[in-house]
Symmetry: C2
Subunit: 358 residues, 2 copies
């Protein structure tokens, strides 16, 4: 087991990464020290891991809340169902939620914890690569709104994150590859050395070789922890973690949630952001070509779906959370390993990128 | 104009109290410095004050969202409508909400601000006595759930609170008296001198004499600011502000929201808490008699409604946010001016109080 710390003063916590952690009862029991425990999971994950996790809390008051599987269920309606269940079981503010699943489960369960009785504690047990490297770390919680992704939510840090590498072993290939999009993102925005390592080791990662996988997850968590530790509530730096996400969210909302996986939309979004950075003269053409090749090697899309035209994309991009003073700020690249949050571009530049990347 | 500061490090803010502040455009405009402003109010308040407040933001992008009037509309459904309206108008995270109205408006508008795009700024313009002395100050926001009052919410501090004394002048008598319940509460829990002053000046307060009213509001805000400044997120001391509220919330939920006003339920709840404190030998009988007389002089109820039996009350009290380790903690009095948060009582004590106070 290896651990990474997210440094946030009195809200600091550890991310534990290793094989077989789901059966480490001592670690689980100590990470969620409450008398009442609600495990929030989904119908795909529950038969695989629910009993193993519940076993760690034997003797306590444990309730399991099972969601349907998919981004289209990350809504106010399903959030309300979690809150109702907590009340029906008379859970108090000192109860805890255990979010067991991928990014959707972590986001909605974490948001329920953020607002139930004005805030209760929770831990994250992410079971997908995407959740382990991204959504479980940093305290962003949310549900979607029909008019925009993650538009309703809270910053609410977990007490701990426990990532069992074995859960990644059983992921469907499509889901696994979607997680790699966020791994590539960390190299692109923050660490050229890591990006080069990914280019050289993508075959090992695609084969899910334990050593490569451990390095990729650990380095991703370290970068995310470093960025979040400097800017918890996204007043500045943290926005770089959104590379590809403004385009990606528009793709997800435009196609309807659940059509493309989040990681797939982010992959195409990163390619669009790289293309636009090149148009602005900030990034070499060969870096764009290299990124497209790396993304394609993962089996991920490099272009925006043809049925989303410029107008549709702009409509969804306009509600992005990075809009300030009426200007949409984008995360672009000034080099591999260096991201910039900027509104210093012309509408025509964005239009050109949207058209070129379809 | 007089001002009270709530000291909360980087979340500190001022409460401004005075006559005619709604027409102080400079104060309003400076307190909510955003390009996009959503005024959230209700159908009773809107015709009275909406235009005056909107005038202060002339030249900006101002939208008004009007709720129906009443506690029964402080729900997830009406919350969702505010969030949808913010998105439909493409409001960004740097937009601001202006909560114009009583406690219901402030609670639901403040909660919308807390979770829209994971948090936007807002100011409070409370127009009832209850909101001016209590709900607008301290950052508690929430909506009700069918299974319990204020069960879903967040701590989210406003940027400023602006209390215009003239709005209190036009309150219906029932609404005005409900506000006095919270004023009495501050004396009971924290300041014997203020409590004695209230006993001596209740006639002037009931006549809404400006000097008496200003003193009552200012002293109430000072006490609340002092308590909240020591314990923003209710890990300890802050719970004393809940005197009468555990009983009161059960009355409100048991009768159906909107049947009794919040202040009426709190008044009966404070009498029950005082009675129970006396039963436990903590409070003199004459203090209980004196409180009942003061509450009755305000035209407020001193007993729990007869159609709520002990079982109904206990059911709703069991989901109180002060439950810890399965024990319901109550706010009781060890003297006039001194409150105690305790689970040091027998179930029989609570039963006896519930029966004696019906």
């Amino acid at each position: 087991m290896t651990s990474v710390t997210v440094n946030l003063a009195d809200r600091s916590y550890a991310i534990h990464i290793g094989p077989g952690l789901l059966d480490n009862h001592e670690l689980l029991a100590a990470s969620a020290p409450a008398r009442q425990i609600m495990i929030v999971t989904n119908e795909t994950i529950a038969p695989l891991y629910q009993a193993r996790v519940a076993a760690a809390f034997a003797g306590r008051d444990v309730v399991t809340h099972v969601l349907p599987d998919g981004e289209q269920y990350k809504t106010m309606e399903y959030l309300q169902a979690i809150l109702t269940s907590l009340l029906e079981h008379r859970f108090a503010r000192d109860a805890m939620i255990v979010a067991l699943g991928g990014g959707v489960v972590g986001d909605i369960a974490g948001f329920a914890a953020a607002i139930y009785q004005r805030g209760m504690d929770f831990i994250q047990i992410p079971t997908t690569l995407l959740a382990q490297v991204d959504s479980s770390v940093g305290g962003k919680t949310a549900v979607n709104h029909p008019l925009g992704k993650n538009m309703v939510g809270a910053f609410h840090q977990p007490l701990a994150v426990i990532s069992d590498l074995q859960t990644v072993d059983t992921l469907a290939p499509r889901e696994y590859r979607a997680g790699l999009a966020e791994v590539i993102k960390y190299g692109l925005i923050y660490d050229q050395t890591f990006y080069l390592w990914l280019q050289q080791n993508m075959a090992a990662l695609l084969a899910r070789e334990p050593a490569a996988l451990t390095h990729a997850i650990r380095r991703s968590c370290e970068i995310k922890a470093e960025v979040v530790g400097q800017d918890e509530r996204e007043n500045g730096l943290r926005a770089i973690l959104n590379l590809g996400h403004t385009f990606g969210h528009a793709i997800e909302a435009g196609l309807g949630y659940g059509t493309w996986l989040h990681g797939e939309a982010v992959a195409a979004g990163m390619c669009a952001a790289a293309h636009m950075s090149h148009q602005l003269g900030w990034l070499d053409g060969e870096d764009v070509t290299g990124l497209n090749a790396l993304v394609a090697a993962c089996g991920l899309p490099t272009t925006i779906p043809a049925d989303l035209d410029e107008r549709a994309m702009l409509k969804y991009m306009a509600v992005d959370k990075k809009v300030r003073q009426g200007q949409l700020r984008l995360v672009l690249l000034s080099a591999i390993g260096r991201a910039v949050v900027t509104s210093d571009y012309q509408p025509a530049d964005l239009s050109a990128a949207l058209q070129a990347c379809r």
